[in-house]
Amino acid sequence: MALKLPIYMDHNATTPVDPRVLEAMLPYFTEKFGNAASRNHPFGWEAEDGVKLARKQVGDLIGADPKEVIWTSGSTESNNLAIKGVADMYKDKGRHIITAIHEHKATLDPCKRLAKMGYDITWLEPREDGLIYADQVAEAIREDTILVTIMWANNELGTINELPEIGKVCKEKGVLLHTDATQAVGKIPVDVNSAGVDLLSGSAHKIYGPKGAGFLYVRRRKPRVRLTPIIDGGGHERGMRSGTLNVTGIIGLGKACELCRLEMAEESARLSKLRDKLDQGITSQLEHAVINGHPDRRIPQTTNISFPYVEGESMMMAIKEIAVSSGSACTSASLEPSYVLKALGLGDEIAHSSIRFGLGRFTTEEEVDYTIDKVVTAVKKLLELSPLYEMVLEGIDINAIEWGAH
């Protein structure tokens, strides 16, 4: 079969909707269009039944009771609701929150807002392997700590933080744990009880569901977690998130979770094999290429590789047939390298030239082979062009040079 270009290798950004998910959603746009909150006629009951099934499908994937699933518009909203909701509800108990510097912006920014409002935030730094460990969390917990929010898997690196150990620490100290599991749900086994998680964010569009649908798991027992809502109104979702339910999106999210639950073992085995082939194919042919983050404790379909002495934007240009995400935001006016990679202690010149490859359900081995080939050819060409690489070959330490500013 001929390879279709461009190739999509950015499944950590978003995924296509699985045709089976779309099929499940379609009737809810037309004949089953009812408002799930309409209690007094069959149109409403039909929609409510669909939503009920979806709640169970989500619950089954993460080991939660269906009643503990709160629908949202996606993980950004879920994180906001969890963090701000807990902060406000428990403010008389304490005002200290623990998070990490390489979380997603949807966690960092709510925490920054709380800091402005007088909350005290502890920003943990990952170790060199990109992970946050339970002992770091244990050390940071204080008398007035009300919430720990640490993502399950990192979106840029794919590294998996030390869960369930972090959960165990939080349980022992009686502190609530929220985890942004957007990149972990559906990719690796996630169980809220064995991981000691009290709140968990997830998104449909990262797992072959539609955009605009997500959920927040909120524990109901041991302990019963309470939240101050962000959106007030009709009292939907146990009063935690008002607004008419996005029934089609919810149906899609539920179906997507069911497919992940049934196919995860097989899919993750296939994708981790392809991912390892990609890693191996690139690093065996390019001696300076480095895999960022823990090599094993990673979600199966993601890798992040640095190409020292090669600049990121020219790299992206050279592999333009492959849709990937670059560690640097060079394509915008700002030349800021990734804060996640900088958190790992990488120098700017390396963080500037890092690429995240995100494989997915429909990625083929041919696409991986093509990617390896393109990347290796591009990097070799750019190394030929690189004055930095020439200096390295001559034995000059480029970090010892006093570079002029411009």
Partner: protein
């Protein structure tokens, strides 16, 4: 971001990539930029007895526009006298490559690289360098 056809042409088939012997007396080398800013250019010139640039080579770590700017610079200075090369302005590079405002620094760097290579050659050969040539960069 969309690149102009000329940038793409220089990026895909850069002219005059390579290195000249930096210790040779008739070679001037300029290295400008910094890795943390995402651009480093090395530009070298070989000058004959009459003061004409007979060869030019470059290597660049940087975005497509930086590669194109330095590639174009080597093309332009070959066959010119040192004075003529010294007179090349970054705005001419901006115009030729249709660089957008966020990429103007690439042209500035290319102009700096030319001047820096010429100064290196002049210093090596005990020629006075004329500071009057170091005019301010024009922001296009």
């Amino acid at each position: 971001m969309a690149y102009s056809e000329k940038v793409l042409s220089h990026y895909e088939t850069p002219r005059n990539v390579g290195s000249l012997d930096k210790d040779a007396k008739n070679v001037g080398t300029g290295i400008v930029g910094a890795p943390e800013c995402g651009d480093v250019m090395k530009l070298q010139i070989q000058v004959d007895d009459s003061g004409k640039i007979v060869d030019a080579k470059f290597k660049t770590f940087g975005c497509g526009s930086a590669i194109a700017s330095s590639s174009l610079a080597t093309e332009w200075i070959k066959g010119r006298t040192l004075d003529e090369a010294m007179a090349i302005k970054n705005t001419e590079i901006v115009q030729e490559l249709s660089l957008p405002p966020v990429k103007i620094h690439c042209s500035v760097l290319a102009e700096d690289a030319i001047k820096s290579a010429i100064h290196d050659y002049q210093e090596k050969n005990g020629l006075a360098h004329d500071h009057a040539d170091e005019t301010e960069h024009t922001k296009a």
